[in-house]
Structure formats: C-alpha cells, structure tokens
Symmetry: C2
Subunit: 195 residues, 2 copies
C-alpha cells in the first residue's frame, strides 16, 4: 500500500472546523497537487454542537475517504480530545488548543493556545482556526507554509487578507516554540540510551 | 440495505459548489437529524478549475461516504454535465443551470437558469448556488424548505440574510415552474398508456 495520511480536525461548532478542513484539503489538493479527500459526517447527534472534519491524503486515488487510524488529531476543545485520542496511531501527532484542553489524555502532545493567540495577538478570536492551520504547516510535513497561505487567501473574505496572513504567521511561530518545548523530552530519552 | 440517496453537486471553481455541499449536508444532518456524509476529493487534475461536492444521505450510519450511482446530479456548467451524467441512476434526477448548460445529454432534465436568476432578480451572481439550493428543496424530498433556510442562514455572512432568503425563495419559485414544464412529458406518456 502506498502513502496515506489520515487527519481529524475537531472542536465545537463555531470554531470554524469545517472551513479548516476545506482549506487544508485545498492546500494539499490544489496547491500541492496531491490526492486528498475531505469529509464531514453528521448523525442524529449533530445537534450537540460538536464539529469534526476529516482530511485524507494519499499518493494514489483515495478509495475510502473516511479517516481511520489517525496520523494527526487536532482537538480544539476538551470533549473532542477525550472522544478521539484513542483513534490516534501510536506514532500519531496530537495537537490541542491549550486555551480549552487542560487535561491531556496522553503525555506527548503539542499544546498551543490557538484561541488565546487569536484573541490577544490578533484581536479576533474567530481566526483561531487559521492560527491552527499555520501551526499544522510547521508541525507536519503534509503541507508547506506557502500552499497553506495560498489556500487560506483563496477562501477568506476580501479585505481580511492581512488578518489571516498574520494569523497564519502567529500559528507558525507558536508551533516552532511548541516543537522546542517538546524536544527535551525526546532528547532526554536519547541521552538515557547513550549512558 | 436501507435508504441511501447519493448526490453530486458540480460546476466551476468560484460557483460556490463546496459551500452548497456543506449547507445541504448541514440542513439534512443538523436540522433534519438524518445521517449524512459530505465529501470533496481533489486529485492532480484539481488545478483545472472544476469543482464538485458529494452528499450521501442514509437512514443508518454511512460506511462509504463517496457518492456512487447518483440519485441527483446538479450541473452548474456544461463540462460537469458532460462529465458526470453517466453516473446517474436511470431514475436519477438531473438539474442543470441552463444559463451555462445548453446541450442536454439526456432528454429529461430540470433546466433552471440559476445564475441568470441570481444576476437579474437578485443583483448578485454569487448567490446562484443559494438559488440552486432553494430549487433542490422543491425538486426532491430530501430536505424541507425550512431546514434548508436554517442551514443557509447559519452559514452566510451576517448582513446578507435577506439576500440569501430571497435567493432561496427565487429558487423555489423557479423549481415549481420547472416541474410544470417537465410534467406534460410524463402526462403524455401516461395518456399513451391509457389509450
């Protein structure tokens, strides 16, 4: 089987989860030219106010577009983190909005306060999803910062380009910091092996 | 196997096809409380400027969210009509934007000039997709006018509620007219049988 990368983006209704899924899929599909499927499913529980969007990337045509074992989970609130972390592969990446996710179900996770950054650095809480997209482009190899910027600018309302570009950049900077914070844990493991 | 209804919405990039898919899925999933999956797929051909969104409705959980044999195809331009009409079931419904689709691949189709209506009656060509959603709610039994209105109003920018409600209503009115235009064909078939 070829390369396949399964992503679930999750949070509350109103956090812009589905728009994130579309932008991420368009960044990879249109601007990187890879095979991508993007799916949202609703059941009778949909009125509960939770929201999730799935993105599957592959090097061949995607026959089964639902995410299965996750390579990446983004949880923008505590409930979605609790509900979905078990679907992560052992080597999968967990990214949480630490503004709302206070209890980590697994020790290793990228904790970035997307909503707090959007509110305090950008003055608009609603761009927390774009901050998160910026972070994803730095925390994974699935999409380049350039492709994500093209896809964001093609989808956001005219006149909000600067705000959204700033949001992406803030997310990228926060991701670089979060990566450094998570590294000592890996380094000390490596050091333990060496001694 | 239970009830399953497969829809493909298709047209050019910029016609708001993916937003249509999301609104239709949310109308059925959140406001009607049924099982729905909504998917878009991109391949290396995605740069070509075509756009498609699929919606699958079921009375049980949807295992395979890609549309297969279509119960409904909406084609907002000639190319998507030509590319996809063969995926229709024999009893499937074809709905075309007759502003752009001039050659029908099958004789029986609902022809409604969504873009012309949006441009001339509403003064905003960009709401052609909302006009089409209004028509879909009248041409099929899958979503009620009330649910589609709730879903549209939850997704469109604040301040555009009246424009979008007018667009829905214009689409519904045009659909009622299109249904009448298509009926004589059925009636004459019936009459033939009677004589």
């Amino acid at each position: 089987m070829g390369f396949r990368y399964d992503i679930r983006l999750s949070g509350s209704g109103g956090q812009g989860i589905i728009l994130m899924g579309i932008i991420l899929a368009e960044a990879v599909g249109i601007y990187e030219g890879r095979h991508v499927s993007q799916t949202q499913s609703y059941g009778p529980e949909a009125r509960g106010g939770s929201s999730k969007a799935e993105v599957v990337i592959s090097d061949t045509e995607i026959d089964y577009p639902k995410a299965m074992r996750l390579d990446m989970l983004l949880a923008m609130n505590q409930k979605s983190c609790d509900d979905y972390y078990m679907d992560l592969k052992p080597e999968g990446i967990l990214i949480v909005d630490s503004t709302f996710v206070k209890q980590l179900p697994i020790p290793r996770a990228f904790q970035i306060p997307f909503t707090k950054i959007a509110r305090e650095k950008l003055g608009r809480e609603m761009v927390a999803n774009i901050v998160a997209l910026g972070a994803i482009s730095k925390l994974t190899d699935i999409v380049s910062p350039k492709a994500i910027e093209q896809a964001v600018l093609a989808r956001v309302p005219k006149g909000t380009e600067k705000l959204n570009r700033d949001a992406l950049n803030a997310g990228m900077a926060a991701a670089v910091k979060a990566k450094k914070n998570i590294l000592p844990f890996m380094r000390s493991e490596r050091e333990d092996e060496d001694t």
